[in-house]
Amino acid sequence: MKTISELTDFYYKTLYPVLQELEEDRKALKQRVISFASVYIIAVALIALSIYKYVDIDMLFFMGVFALAGFGWLYRFLVSDYTSDFKQRVIAPLIHEIDENLDYLPELHVPVANFNRSKLFTSRPDRVSGNDYVRGKIDGIDIAFSDFHAEKRHKDSKGRESWTTIFQGLFIISDFHKTFHGETVILPDYAQSTFGDLIGSWLQTNNFSRKQLVKMDSPEFEKAFVVYGTDQVEARYILTHTLMQKLLNYKKRSKHPLYVSFIRGKIYMAIEYNDDMFEPAVFRSLLNYKIAMQYLATLHLAIGIVEELKLNQKLWSKK
């Protein structure tokens, strides 16, 4: 696989003319958004001023929220052409540069069935969204990932609806080349880091929404993660010391909460970002090195999983 610096070279050298063109578009778009926002704010303020005497404060608040949502929708509409242009002309070539066997489908996301099958989160989502679906084979290993946002609907006693996020970030699925039958789930260790070892591990042992607690023989790994599984031996068969170390390295590098599960021959990974990735910035230059590095680092991290976890190590009898 290409290194980050090779990809950065590609980004700046090969894509430079495209980036320059897009940068011009971005500047024009930024101007358009600012003018539009000014007109919109003035219009909303005028409407509010003319009606505030006739409506109560609740109504005014409601209209304010409505106006804000309206602006959000219009903003997305304004930038949609530019966004899709950016994805087709910058992100797609970058993905192909990493490996030409990868397909990039900017409008789609990982199927929700995969998300549910991963058992990484105990609640099932009522609404999912996402984009930037990448799928294909790297070194003969199936891999797929995308931005993913899963939400749960709640209703209060008055019947008002609200939504909470179950997960938002990068969701990755890949083949795992060891035969296993049970389920092993690795989650960030919040209990022990919040309540200390004694109470934390008691809480983990008595987590009824999960399978058996599997204590791992690596203090560093135990500090960062908690493991639940259907089979004590199998969990350790999957999580060798090498793999534990790799997951720790991976977590350190991504600096985001990491969830991993091994179910039905697959590895599922969820990296929490609370952000929509691969979206072009409108108010910052495309030629800004930091922004480019963010795209590249995220892509590299997602695809690097195959290499990092040595999933293509065909040592196992599994064909």
Binding site: Q232, V233, T240, L315
Partner: protein
Amino acid sequence: MSTPLIILIVLAIILVLMYNSLVAKKNQVENIFASVDTQLKKRYDLIPNLVASVSKYMDHEKSLLEEVTKLRSEANRPNISDKQKMNLDAKITKALGSIMIAVENYPDLKANENVMHLQRSLNEVEEQIAAARRAYNQAVTDYNNALEMIPTNIMASMMGYKEKDVFEITEDERKNVNVGELFSK
């Protein structure tokens, strides 16, 4: 309900919970030892095939092959203690490791499909044994902790529970040298 009765009931519940947790820990140790056994049996089954496939090539390592065969027949004897089993297992692991390294010196052998398949199977069994050993050690640690810690130690001594030994892991294994890496060199 009178206070002494409540205290008595609470005490009884605590005692039952302690008793059950000790039994559960002991059974967990036995249960996982059984899976170590299963994996070891799988390895014993592979050894004759391995010896048969490599013996005609390996002139200089004859003693190694004989050693493995001898250890295997010892391990298959009935009524050997858990401790003896652990010792034999450690010796077999070492001897097999040496055979696998020796295979590297025989290019024909290394390329042989049959041997490659055996290597893959052995590698997998080795990983499974390592996993079962780690699981066993964790179960024994939990069990031994309960035997030493207050207040479960009092009940454990009344129940006649004795501390159990863990599998000794060699320094090599601690470093987790992947046998696979030796093959793929």
